[in-house]
């Protein structure tokens, strides 16, 4: 066995393969890396959305939001899986009334950062909502988590890249990774590709990843108050500049949702917040887990949300009519 302090050159016998252009072999390996990456990029752009239920549903929501207006006020309801599980959209549209065109845009695992820049990207892509509703629980509202690489590709616009890096004070390594994700579909979605492969290799993998998912710690109510005030104020001012009405919808949760500080912050920030029904009003059987509602729970929540939302929208509409402004 070679000496333990040997270097790779002094201890190895020569390869014994002569007449080989090793530079060409190395360059072939490097070109192969680029070619395989290119193939992955092509494959994910072409096939990933079709083969992923989640991505195809998100894409369907996105297309619906971007489809032509219907001659009535456009209300975009954005959020994460709490929106997806918690609101019965057909029921909501029926209860709020057909005078509003309510379209859902639900993207799992999104939080404030995703929608801060996601909202701006929607506008850049030509979507012009009259009302923008954001449905987030307290933790994703005040936390700095975001959907990472998929956010950079799907929700961040190129012009917002530098402000985003500065806003989150990203380390240069992280920032360059986000830049690559912004342009590369494969790089942005590689974790979904990995999950897809793992699901084939390891049966019932999802049961394990659910157990290993990170759990948030306690929140500081004072911090919740200050951060939510700042963020709600940002949304209020940003949407007002665009002539868009903004409102936050707080979903019910089984655990302490820290809703009081958020409600207080929204008053100070001048942002409308709807909290139609608390989690304590739901029997435990209407929650799938600490946050997500069952179908029955979603019906209950939607029935509480609809009148509150209708009131909010009617007031907004009346205000615009009184000011002589266009409704849509």
């Amino acid at each position: 066995m070679p000496s333990s302090t040997s270097s790779s050159s002094s201890s190895r016998p020569t390869a014994g393969i002569h007449g080989v252009n090793w530079l060409r072999v190395s360059l072939t390996a490097i070109v192969l890396l680029a070619a395989i990456y290119g193939l992955m990029e092509f494959a994910t752009r072409r096939f990933l959305v079709r083969s992923s239920k989640i991505l195809s549903r998100i894409e369907a929501d996105r297309r619906a939001v971007m489809s032509p207006r219907q001659g009535k006020p456009l209300v975009v309801l954005a959020g994460n899986s709490l929106l997806l599980f918690g609101v019965d959209m057909d029921l909501l549209r029926r209860e709020v009334g057909s005078e509003y065109d309510i379209r859902r845009y639900a993207v799992e695992q999104t939080a404030f950062v995703d929608w801060k820049y996601g909202y701006r990207r929607l506008l850049k892509e030509g979507v012009k909502p009259d009302v923008f509703l954001l449905m987030l629980a307290t933790r994703p509202l005040v936390g700095d988590e975001f959907r990472r690489d998929q956010f950079a590709y799907y929700q961040l616009s190129t012009e917002d890249y530098l402000p985003f890096v500065s806003d989150l004070r990203l380390h240069p390594t992280d920032a360059t990774g986000q830049l690559l994700s912004h342009y590369s579909n494969f790089y942005a979605n590689r974790s979904d590709v990995r999950k897809f492969i793992l699901a084939k290799l390891v049966p019932n993998m999802a049961n394990l990843t659910t157990r290993l998912a990170p759990v948030g710690g306690q929140l500081d109510p004072a911090r919740v108050l200050s951060v939510s005030k700042e963020r709600l104020r940002w949304f209020e001012q940003e949407t007002r500049k665009d002539g868009v009405k903004f409102a936050l919808i707080l979903p019910p949760t089984r655990v302490d949702g820290y809703t009081e500080p958020v409600l207080e912050a929204s008053k100070t920030a001048g942002a409308a917040t709807l909290f139609p029904i608390a989690g304590a009003s739901f029997p435990p059987g209407e929650f799938l887990d600490a946050h997500h509602l069952t179908e029955k729970g979603a019906k209950r929540f939607t029935e509480s949300l609809a009148p509150a939302l209708k009131t909010e929208l009617d007031q907004w509409r009346a205000g615009r009519q009184k000011a002589g402004l266009r409704i849509h």
């Binding site: 390869a15 530079l23 360059t176 990774g177 590689r190 049961n207």
Partner: protein, 474 residues
């Protein structure tokens, strides 16, 4: 910048492309500049620290070599060693010792308030400090001529592939390479590319995926400690840290090799060891040999009787443990290994030559029983290395007395097998062939096929978090 990120690959490509267009001295200056850029990318605030220690060591070495006065030489040695140890001790261990002192006095009923500084650890300080110490000691003992070029010496210390987490290079090995011209060798370049790909596989595919299970076990997400949780946590971490560090070392060696430098081998299939002594000849070789040559032998080694040999072994391993981090868990980890080595030596001494080297027997059943036994001894120590506190480590180990089964445990074991078996097979291959990466001595078409499979595995199966290499925190 982390080795497994796109920005590092871009950085490496640009540096290598520019490097081979330059002459020797220009190469050294360019490498020095980009190495400082690489270091500053981590945290620019500590550039001054590494610059100061580099300049002081450089000057001390030159003055030591020029002086015949033993007192002057010893004072200069003390200055250099003292400065390096003070920097390392202050930034890495101040809070640890302060807290430990306060806690210790507290148990004696003496309440003291010791201010904590919450210092950030300068990247790579444990590694470059050991390199600087080796250099000054070698110059002092006239084993090495000092460098007359500050650029060359600074490059020896800061060459970016090894700067943050080793392998710890010996001055007699790396400094001459820095000082002499490097010639282009296509075969070495090819080997460098293959090492990088192999390292990426070890780190991104094996280590980052095993980390999920290790974190789940040690954080309690998989449940209270029990036999399955303990086994999952210990096995997962054992393969995580091995994949992580051997992967990093391969990428470091491969990157250096692209520029004509040869770094020492840092791992040789450690989990195929049949004794603990063998394990330490295969695990983190650059550190273990450094400890042997600059600490164990300086303490007297095995030259002054059995009792002092055991003392020296234990001292070396305890300090080696402490080098890994400012936490009593690392001290316990080192102590356990010191105890293992001492016990093994005693047992061998009873049955013959205590310094006997085991011969290889890759496929014999007896050898496999030994390997499994040694692997589990190492895993027991890893529990302390991974746990946040001694109490948590003992709680985890206490799970050996409790049985609980959940369906997720089978999924976790299958997951672990999927991600450890490839590395295990890779190690068997390397052990049987003596190669440094698989198919090293095969035809080019095989090499290209191997490269393609590594690339595919890294692209498709990399763990999805940005996990810094474990040894970066040391």
């Amino acid at each position: 910048m982390l080795f497994d990120t796109p920005v590092f690959l871009l950085f490496l490509t640009l540096v290598v492309a520019a490097y081979w267009r330059l002459r020797h001295h220009q190469q050294n200056r360019m490498l020095l500049a980009v190495s400082y850029l690489f270091y500053g990318w981590w945290d620019y605030r500590f550039l001054a620290l590494i610059l100061i220690s580099t300049v002081v060591d450089f000057q001390c070495a030159r003055l030591i070599a020029r002086s015949d006065n033993p007192l002057h030489r010893r004072l200069l040695l003390a200055l250099s060693v003292g400065l390096n140890v003070c920097f390392l001790g202050f930034f890495k261990y101040y809070d640890f010792f302060a807290e430990s002192l306060a806690a210790g006095l507290g148990t004696l009923g003496i309440e003291v308030s010791v201010p904590l500084l919450k210092l950030i650890l300068p990247p790579g300080i444990s590694f470059y400090t050991f390199q600087e110490l080796a250099y000054i000691v070698d110059v002092y003992y006239k084993r090495l001529e000092p460098s007359e070029s500050l650029v060359d010496y600074a490059l020896f210390i800061t060459l970016f592939p090894h700067l943050i987490a080793g392998p710890i290079q010996r001055p007699s090995h790396l400094l001459p390479q820095v000082q002499r011209e490097r010639t282009w060798d296509a075969r070495q370049f090819h080997d460098g590319v293959m090492l990088i790909l192999t390292g990426m596989f070890r780190k991104c595919v094996i280590a980052d995926n095993c980390a999920l299970i290790a974190e789940g076990a040690f954080s309690g997400k998989l449940g209270e400690p029990s036999i399955p949780v303990l086994l999952l946590g210990a096995y997962a971490f054992a393969w995580q840290i091995y994949g992580d560090f051997s992967g990093y070392s391969d990428i470091a060696r491969g990157s250096a090799q692209l520029m004509g430098f040869h770094f020492m081998v840092n791992f040789r299939q450690p989990y195929l060891s049949r004794t603990l002594q063998d394990f330490w000849r295969r695990w983190h070789i650059s550190l273990s040999t450094w400890l042997r040559d600059y600490l164990y032998i300086s303490l007297g080694g095995n030259r002054h009787g059995e009792a002092k040999t055991y003392r020296n072994l234990l001292t070396t391993m305890v300090l080696g443990g402490l080098w890994h981090g400012a936490n009593w868990t690392f001290v316990v980890w080192g102590t356990i290994h010191g105890g293992y080595l001492a016990l093994e030596r005693w047992v061998k001494g009873k049955s013959g030559n205590p310094d006997a080297v085991e011969s290889h027997g890759l496929f014999s059943p007896g050898a496999w029983l030994q390997r499994i036994f040694i692997f589990h001894l190492v895993c027991v120590a890893w529990v302390f290395f991974r746990a946040e506190s001694i109490q948590k480590a003992l709680t985890m180990l206490g799970g050996i007395g409790r049985w609980e089964w959940r369906p997720e445990y089978m999924i976790a074991f299958v997951f672990l097998c999927v991600f450890t078996l490839p590395l295990f097979v890779l190690d068997l291959l390397l052990e049987s062939t003596g190669e440094e990466y698989p198919f090293e001595r095969h035809q080019p078409v095989v090499a290209v096929a191997y490269a393609a499979s590594m690339i595919l595995a890294v692209l498709l199966l990399s763990g999805n978090q940005i996990n810094a290499f474990i040894y970066f925190q040391f």
